[in-house]
Symmetry: C2
């Protein structure tokens, strides 16, 4: 048994689904890119004025904005937008507001409708990052929505930019189409490894590492590859949502027995990205899980950019851990995960 980390890709389960992501997004204008950051870079935001970014954000997002234009606003302990702080930072210099939902939990309706009104009044563009709430969205707040979809789906690359039908998207014709599906070699090798068919874990890990490095250093905007599009067309979204909710629900009930609960609450229609915990001595716990082949992401390691304005980003970097609950896993996997956590000897609760 092995949980978490990169997806594998099973070539014998590729059947085009009518309930795929293209169908899921059919009420929006959509453009697909090689990554979420390409989708973000394609938005015609004002490069010369300030952007309000949540302090708790992936480094790859802040890298898309001129650093001298970035103003951070605070995020609360339970990952809500700190509206009082944000209000204080709205000035005529601000042209763009970047908002984010965390781990599947959509920001409260009151906050979102306030922000929408305020933005309309002040002529501010809202960019809404739905990377972590991609399958929770019922309505949207932003002028432009972006998401990196690779964390949800077994695809080598993929990001999406979308808007309401009434809002046009920027022209796409000059943007080249990627054909770099290198990560899928790793995903396919991982599949052979997990099926005990080929001893190739060093190789697929090498491929994943190299792909990640390449993505981090590339700043060309590319359209998504045809292969990624094909893979997307094969993934049944209602099944994915149901599996994630079911795994999350199981863990919620089990882990509360030892006093653990997710760091933010999901509404009934939300779909979880992971099961996010805030724990004491996070690194020890993470190493323990790794010894039991449970590989957990950290959202996000601190990038040391303007630490003085980002207390919660630092705290989260030190205390949060993301347990895998995605559609690859079923009840027996979650039972294994629970048992391993129950057997942990260390202290977890603050």
């Amino acid at each position: 048994m092995e949980l978490g980390s990169e997806y594998d890709l099973d070539l014998n389960k590729l059947n085009i689904s009518s309930n795929n992501l293209f169908h899921y997004l059919e009420s929006y204008n959509c453009q697909f890119f090689d990554s979420g950051r390409s989708a973000l870079r394609h938005i015609p935001f004002n490069q010369n004025k300030a952007v309000l970014l949540p302090e708790f954000i992936c480094e790859s997002v802040s890298n898309c904005f001129p650093s001298q234009n970035i103003i951070f606003y605070n995020i609360t302990e339970d990952l809500q937008i700190d509206l009082d702080d944000l209000k204080r930072k709205i000035t005529p210099q601000v042209a763009t507001l970047y908002i984010c939902h965390y781990f599947g939990a959509v920001q409260s309706a009151q906050i979102l409708s306030y922000l929408r009104r305020m933005a309309d009044e002040c002529g501010i563009m809202i960019i809404e990052d739905t990377t972590q709430s991609f399958f929770s969205i019922n309505h949207i707040t932003g002028d432009y929505m972006i998401a990196s979809i690779r964390k949800w789906l077994p695809i080598p690359l993929g990001g999406v930019l979308y808007t309401k039908k009434a809002q046009d998207l920027p022209a796409l014709d000059h943007i080249k189409t990627s054909s770099d599906n290198t990560r899928s070699y790793g995903m396919i090798l991982k599949n052979l490894f997990l099926k005990n068919e080929l001893d190739c874990n060093a190789k697929y890990r090498q491929i994943f590492t190299e792909c990640e490095e390449k993505l981090d250093t590339s700043d060309e905007i590319l359209q998504i590859s045809d292969f990624s599009r094909f893979l997307i067309s094969c993934i049944d979204i209602p099944e994915l949502i149901a599996a994630r909710r079911s795994n999350y629900h199981f863990l919620t009930l089990e882990l509360q027995k030892i006093g653990l609960q997710p760091v933010c609450a999901l509404a009934e229609n939300d779909c979880p990205l992971v099961f996010p915990l805030r724990v004491k001595n996070r690194d020890s716990f993470r190493s323990y899980l790794m010894e039991h082949k449970i590989y957990c992401a950290v959202h996000w390691p601190f990038d040391h950019f303007r630490p003085e304005f980002r207390p919660m980003a630092q705290k989260n970097a030190e205390t949060l851990i993301s347990l895998p609950i995605d559609q690859r896993y079923q009840k027996n996997d979650m039972t294994y995960l629970r048992d391993i956590i129950f057997q942990y000897g260390g202290e977890l609760l603050f």
Copy 2:
């Protein structure tokens, strides 16, 4: 350098082409299956009456007909239909005539128009096997055309049944869609091996062998997999044809210097499957090429079914060798192939 044998699959060259096979076949009714034999089995031929089969044919074809109904007709040394022999075998018991083109060379227009007329007069169904002439076809003769397309294209599985627009195809709705893309694991591993990225040739050869065995023992008719369809959509057919013709032309000019010429002549618009030679001591020559990593198919090993009626099938099984000239290869590959043949010490000419 390594030539021949199964295709590898490069995941970083998958771009949907507007000049793909679906476009190539757009003037026909088409149905795609997991294999040529599934395509053949889907044809509503009369199972209770005799079928005329060319003596020189792959065992997988004759296995699709009740053996007691098979009557073989002769094929000449240069792989033309022996019309005199065929005429003698037309009786009221014959309901189906199976015709085949070899190695890209289409049967002569006179023979084909005679057969079409005769079939119409006698109420005989013509099944035309275009597996080896798939990219030579300008016009068609049969009531139903079938082809296995896996020998032309880097796809895990694929066969096609097609007719003129005026001729309906049998219903397809009850036929399940395959999702067995196992062969593509082998193709992808072979690609990593050829790129010197992974030492996995034993594994991909094992996969290819197992897939071949599975195909030989399966008799379920399945539609082509969605993944194979996607891969087909990425292959540019005019490029494929141009590369094959160019390689074939080069070898024709070079090998005639040592008195070797292909076993059948291609017309100007024909596209070669392979470069077929008839040579003395074929097995020694084939082993020699293999020592130099040139892997040549034999079309076809003799299946020992009714040898007394199939003299040319036996002779071909002993003397023919198929040199690889497909779209994977460029001039330097063909130069290597020529040089290795020129360096051969053994006797080749009859």
